[in-house]
Subunit: 353 residues, 2 copies
Amino acid sequence: MRTEVDEPTVAEVGEFGVIRRLAGDRPPGTDGTVLVDTGDDAAVLATSDGRVVACTDMLVEGRHFRLEWSAPSDVGRKAIAQNAADIAAMGGECTGFLVALGCPPSTPVRVLEEMSAGARAEAARVGAAIVGGDLVQAQQVVLSVTALGALSGRRAVRRSGARPGDVVALCGGTGASAAGLALLESGWGTSECAVALDEAAAARLIAAHLRPHPPYGAGPQAADAGATAMIDISDGLVADLGHLAAESGVVLRLDPARLAEDAGGGAGFDDLRAAADALGADPWDWALGGGEDHPLAATFPAAGPLPEGWRAVGTVHATGAAEAGGARLPAGPAVLVGDSCYGGAPGWVAFGG
Amino acid sequence: MRTEVDEPTVAEVGEFGVIRRLAGDRPPGTDGTVLVDTGDDAAVLATSDGRVVACTDMLVEGRHFRLEWSAPSDVGRKAIAQNAADIAAMGGECTGFLVALGCPPSTPVRVLEEMSAGARAEAARVGAAIVGGDLVQAQQVVLSVTALGALSGRRAVRRSGARPGDVVALCGGTGASAAGLALLESGWGTSECAVALDEAAAARLIAAHLRPHPPYGAGPQAADAGATAMIDISDGLVADLGHLAAESGVVLRLDPARLAEDAGGGAGFDDLRAAADALGADPWDWALGGGEDHPLAATFPAAGPLPEGWRAVGTVHATGAAEAGGARLPAGPAVLVGDSCYGGAPGWVAFGG
């Protein structure tokens, strides 16, 4: 990480001094929800309907982010974003976050302030506050976020509800984050980098990696529209849809032409292709296997229209179903791209590499 | 950590393989509370009264525990216990836990299985289940636990409600954990250790350090009995009561004779004194400054009787109040032991040492 001469470190300012500096204002509209926040043994939040949704994700320096590539504020944003995407994938809306942070004593307080500001900004985007946390000494920077959410009377949409005949739909695209990461790994932006690519395209892909924008509102919207199953695509499209297929006991068949329309998300498939050409990579490896774009994937009954922002990319089938021409679908849960099982990059592997 | 030849590592078994091995049964009685648990994007819990209590604590290997001293199951138990104690200190009962775990790829799966079994056992003691989590690669073992709890119509007891005239009370004692840690640091149990101490006393103190038993039920009990403020003593008695004094804007005066009756907790003040003699330490440094015993401290109106298990150890005063003999109490929030501000060990410092 970038450090400046003589800037105060966490060891110098101390746990409570740092916590005082990080305490931020609550976003507007959270006062009815946040009944007790940071500064007590625990926070107390109101729940809208007698249920609370909760999930947790840990980010480790050098593994999930590098402070040479990510500004501290990007790390804070991303930690909140990936947890908030999990709440959205249940059909929920975030009500509060708890942030536990480990870091070396030599960490400049500025780095934590920027990280905290990024986390608060992303929390405010979903209308929630950071209501609690912990600050401890560790060898590397470790951020562990817990997101709490409300369903407001909505059904929780699980991974297990997809039924044969349903439509598979995506809100957002995949591949841009993996392409952005590949560019950073190639040394893009440094004088040694010989990759020939349009500056603006590279910037879009790198931004997609550093500052993902999950479509939070699309989760509750899908639940309201009758989604039968839903999942946040964090490890890779095929890998995560594989979990949904397994939990639902179905075969998902994706249409590559439809996928290409959304691949690359905000950056677009042209950017993916250009970056792949420049790096000698396959853009489909990024679109099907790359993680961290955080679109939502859901299945919907075929009869109804899809909610705004959602696009059909495939269909749900019974395992072992007979196909035209006498072929049969796989006998167990699977994800097909066209007619084939995808055999490319396996998606994010927690203990790989 | 102790590893055996050829035992499978986390890298070999992989994230989802490990998670499958760690999935345990829910404790009885949690089915009405746990609506969706591990295996989906997020868990869903029922809340008893439209409010949820939530807190988080991170434990780092080498900083908060050492796998040479603690069995993995002890680490799992302690991570749950210290979070559950924070829920109790608000007057709440635990309903579920989320556990995020970082570890090196070379970590034997057995270590995680034992850690998880310890965490599940302690969660079951408070009648709650582990409903979600994350497993990632890190340089050292890092456990980040979030506890969720219910108030069931009870008022949340905060740190800020102590009023002059209230009684300060403790449920449980302090100092045994610090004494146990000092014994472990002295090499107790190894052939090089020359500390002369009764084996059984040493075992009691070390057990207090490795396997704390916070009085979880005493939190809701204190809330029901009208406690005006409450806190979990995790960093040290004087340090944590200092937070309560600061939030309430009062002076707390503790009676050393009363403290001595509870010091050492289950082990007792005789054990503390014997260990201090053997190590050349001051037992009061452990009782007043030592952390991780997790008794609860609370203030109660003077009129009523204290709930079972709680013992009066001091009184609450206005800042700057006049004393008999013309003396004045400190002009700002403070904790006095007898007539003096405690000047010994400052309690746990997150970025010290």
